[in-house]
Amino acid sequence: MKLHDLTVAEAARMLAAREVSSRELTQAALDRIAAVDGRIHAFLTVTAEQALAAADAADRRIAAGEVTPLTGIPMALKDVLCTRGVPTTCGSRMLERFVPPYSATVVRRLHEAGAVAVGKTNMDEFAMGSSTENSAYGPTHNPWDPERVPGGSSGGSAVATAAGEGLFSLGSDTGGSIRQPAALCGITGLKPTYGRVSRFGLVAFASSLDQIGPFTRDVRDAALVMNAIAGHDPLDSTSAAVPVPDYATALTGDIRGLRFGVPKEYMIEGMEPGVRAALLESVAALEDLGATVRWDISLPSTEAALGVYYIIAPCEASANLARYDGVKYGYSNQTGASMWENMELTRQHGFGDEVKRRIMIGTYALSAGYYDAYYNKALQVRTLIRREFDAAFEQVDLIVTPTSPGVAFKLGEKTADPVAMYLNDVFTLPVNIAGLPGVSVPGGMSEGLPVGLQFIGRPFDEPTLLRAADAYQRATSWHTLRPPL
């Protein structure tokens, strides 16, 4: 097996056994980037020099016996995570030359654990999109078929891990931005419970929905990364003071008696036949493992989730993105006749179409006279959606669904139709609305492309969620497939 194809757990074992050094692993990831990234464009910034220095530091740590399971492991970071001294663009022209003087809490924690960042990955501008086509720096391509999108908005991070340009990566998920690209690229992607992982240093899209999580080759690796990044952060008042269990020890492989449910409302017309087949086959696999699966649980407001999401997220975004005015940092257009004109020109040229669309939707929905009809109504339905999940979790322990109604689509196929693009996330965004943990794992292949299977758990019950997904992976081999690059 090639070094760039290892899982984190395998690499950690080899590092501990001195079978490989962090420098070798890191160099392998950098070589892989050099070899394939021209075709897939996962990275916006590659920090080779810093990575090799960090790898050497990790090797010294390993020699001294001060190791964590992530010490010396090369990783990639979505370019929405602030990295001290390293450009953080959010895929936007607006932050083209922005270099933060601080690191996100997750970046700091991974750095302290000894993980080695090889670079920053491409994304839909400000995390708004489902295909990574909305990046100001050009799209990322799916390693299974470069004609196709990798999903989004964390497409770069998904592709980096899928293509071996790092052994894991971090993304952010506001409506499915980790799980959907994980599904489309055939890897594991976890969106933790809202509040489980600090958002400090994550450039905000929709603050009440955003959550950081890992892309990995399997569920065990996701548990290892979670052990490093989860937990309360005094810098994030929305991070929960809930104790952090050892996620890796939760992976017992035993799901006998665990109760699964497939919501009726998720069996929609628009689901591709290959996706439906993969779901049926996966459910059978769970039953073989001793779990029970029922098909009659109901989340009646599922249909309203898309509408709720496309009000709440743009409303929050319209405020979160107000700070980009060209005065303090980032792109600044000074060709106008006045400060106000410069501000308008900066935003006109600094933001892409999708970002502008959402700022306008949010500004409109919050305006006097519309607030009650849109934002307030959306909050009410949000509460309803939460309660429906609560009710479902009285009947079952976990919900299982496809991650996305279809497999990776062609570049340009949906860019002209925002609503068709938004429909990619119908199965993932209710999870953000309810603040629940969700994980996507490879659950089959259709037309030569990966299909994602999504598990949804109770708040802060990542241990059960990961135990189920891990047990599924022990019984299947979809996660071991690698793209033909």
Binding site: C90, P100, Y102, G201, A204, S207, S237, E316, D325, Y329
Partner: protein, 488 residues
Amino acid sequence: MSQPATAYEVVIGLEVHAQVATASKMFCPCPATYAGAAPNTHVCPICLGMPGVLPVMNRDAVEKTLLFALALGCTIPHDSKFDRKNYPYPDLMKGYQISQYDMPFSVNGHLDVDLPDGTVKRVGVTRVHLEEDTAMLRHESGAGGERYSVVDVNRAGSPLMEIVSEPDMRSPEEARRYLEMLREILRYTGVSRANMEEGNFRCDANISLRRFGAPQYGTKVEIKNMNSFRSVQMALEYEVRRQSEMLDRGEQITQETRGWLEAERRTVSQRSKEQAHDYRYFPEPDLPPVRPAAAWIEQLRVTVPELPQTKRHRFVEQYGLSAYDANLLSTPRARAEFFEQTIAIAGAARAKQVSNWLLGDIARLQNAHGQEFEHITIAPAQVAELIDLVERRVLNSTTAKAVLERIYTSGGSPTAAASDLGLVSAPAAGLDALLATVIAANPRAVTDFRGGKANAVQALVGAVMRETRGTADAAQVRELLLEKLARD
């Protein structure tokens, strides 16, 4: 209170912004005090509004706001939250201000305003809420006359309390009185320095006029840019004139925001109702709702100090002070406390003497030294001792002043200071012999006195005072002389 010569009733409501005196800013660890600091030195990524940063609530600011709200008799709702107030301006780092919209920390308070005619006017306080201050803009001109603005972010993110009154004031003078009393309570509770000139106490006024007896309020006008209590009163008086003249002419008042031009002593239109911002408030998703625990509120409630107004009334009743003296003594809080600490030692029977010293010679020295009462260099025990020495006639009013000046600048006990200065009175027993000597040495004065010239005794008093180098108590000497002359 005298009504202006007009057919209209004046209706005024005030919005006061007071900076909360905390060590750090509202949502980040930067120091909240910036007076004298070089521009943009008290800043961090959080108050600069950089990408990806998050606010963390300053508990002290919340606590002080609650304390102040309790002092105004406000109700503290079980649920409150922060909201985002959206508007673009270069002094607003994030493009929105974290404030409180529909669920403030406190509602339904009041302030009893003492009016100059001795009556008390209760002004309703709609709400007291907490928000963050903005940066400061300075408008400058370059060498070539080009105009530009610079931003100083030091102030951005400082905790700012907004105190909104009901439209209960009926004259500019009442408005000014309300502000004075509000400032007094802000300082008393230690919640704010409340200094309008320093900019940590700001006021906007809403004013409308209506015919007396009219059921509806008239159209209101908001006035901004007033930087002293005096300018608030002047601006309101100007508006009363402007609006009543318009109404007299049968014109409609326009709902608008007007700015006070101090130099020109008039207000000018800044913004019409149509140009008003739509702030698009929505709940701040980065901060959880605030639910102050009942126990916390009760703990704070007992720490609300006795307010100056209550104190004044108590001083009159308990110590028999005049309303005038009680008023002066009650503020600042440090002086009121000094007063009662001194009484605790000297006894309530000496309240008048304590008051006289505090408002007389001590106030004079304090002014001469340019000191705030908080930093006064004399202690209640020293004043009590001084009063005791005078009472026992060891010192007279003149020598006591000399002793006060000595201990004010050099410290120490008044007894020691009096001795150092050689000002200790001859004991009364020794005086007797001295009086006999003086009577014997001044037969002329004695004869005059006995001949009916009552004033002639003054010559004898003067002689005794000379002999004692002024340390004797002149009144006592006079008394003893009269006794002696009557006996002999």
